[in-house]
Amino acid sequence: MTGQRTTLPPAARAIVRGDRRALARAITAVENGAPEADLLLRSTYSRTGRVPIIGFAGPLGVGKSSLLSALVTQLRAAGTTVGVIAIDPSSPFSGGSVLGDRIRFERRADDTGVFFRSMASRGASGGVAAATRDVARLMDAAGFGVILVETVGSGQVDVAIREIASTRVVVLVPHLGDEVQTLKAGLFEIADIFCVNKSDLPGSETAERYLSELAGLGPGPDGWRARVVRTSATVPSGIPGLWSAIEEHERFVAGSDVHRQAERRRLSDEIVGRVRDELTRELTLRLEAEAELRRLVDQVVARKLDPRSAADRLVAEERR
């Protein structure tokens, strides 16, 4: 096994040492599923799980990037190093993408305490890319003090960040809808913190009230009652309040049995998922090579057999 705390391979050692080029290349390898990614992730895993991963979700144009920029400025002033992952959508037509979150990001070009990486979603739904969790792990292993993840700005069901982040901030703006919106399933369910951004605009008190009423309905299954904060990324205002709400939630998570269980379940899901993917790949290759499959398809095409019964026969065959 390569995964334990033995000597690290050179590329992994470079990442842990803080070599930014090595980290950048490793992220590319992980994104592309390149063979070298496997060894890097195996060998650095024991050095992960140490830092807060803060996820930011919310609709398009609510100011997530600007908010992150303001937050990074505050964190850097406090001496905290920050890794940022910003995800934008890939085109379902060309596979290409324009990753524009860097534009909102203000910082000094010589500040090595920040590492910013744009990621394309590459066909994954749910607001993050398939490789986002592993990229966050690499940044964790590289020793950044906190990792911020900005999801694809889109809809109500982009909740995949739940599986990656230790604290989830849902960013909203005034006038997104009435209080019934806040009862709907999806995005509103995953918030540890609601952030009403652009709070210098009229209507932010109303938005805050709706969200506070929602939070006031009672704590979630983990016992945490969602906090509501108001910010303006451009003024800027409310950023310290946002960060202290995040810190408060991180302290809560650290002492929470529910969260320990949830982390266990997530890792269990990850392992099972990997086994399933691997076996599915094997099985698909094997089935597609089988003459029996072709015979059954002929019958299904001719309407002499239905697809379910055909599948049942192959399953019976597999189990023999």
Binding site: I27, S90, G96, L99
Partner: protein
Amino acid sequence: MVAKQRTRPIRVLIAKPGLDGHDRGAKIVARALRDAGMEVIYAGLRQTPEEIVRAALEEDVDLIGLSILSGAHMALFPRVLKLLKAEKASRIPVFAGGIIPDEDATRLRHLGIRAIFGPGTSLEEIVRTAEKLARAPP
């Protein structure tokens, strides 16, 4: 379709060094590269050479495209190339577009800018050249 998606997308940084505020050209090129299946990191206006090189390295791009209309290309482009060299990253090809007089273009090519596109260049040509540069670095 599946096989096509398995090839890794080209990552390209599009940035505007210097102080002019005209980014229409850069945006059109960014969109054309996106439509050609590339992942375009759009760094936008008023980037210093230091910021551009830093972004290129963090984003691990295969290619850098610079757009400029201010006339400061002879100061800014060589600086980008020099910083890349200092970072041992000269293998990342750099191409450029904008208002660049022919005699400057010749000198910039000599310094290591791999392609220069003036006004009226077709998007097809830009995409084709970008693909070629990204897939086959020197």
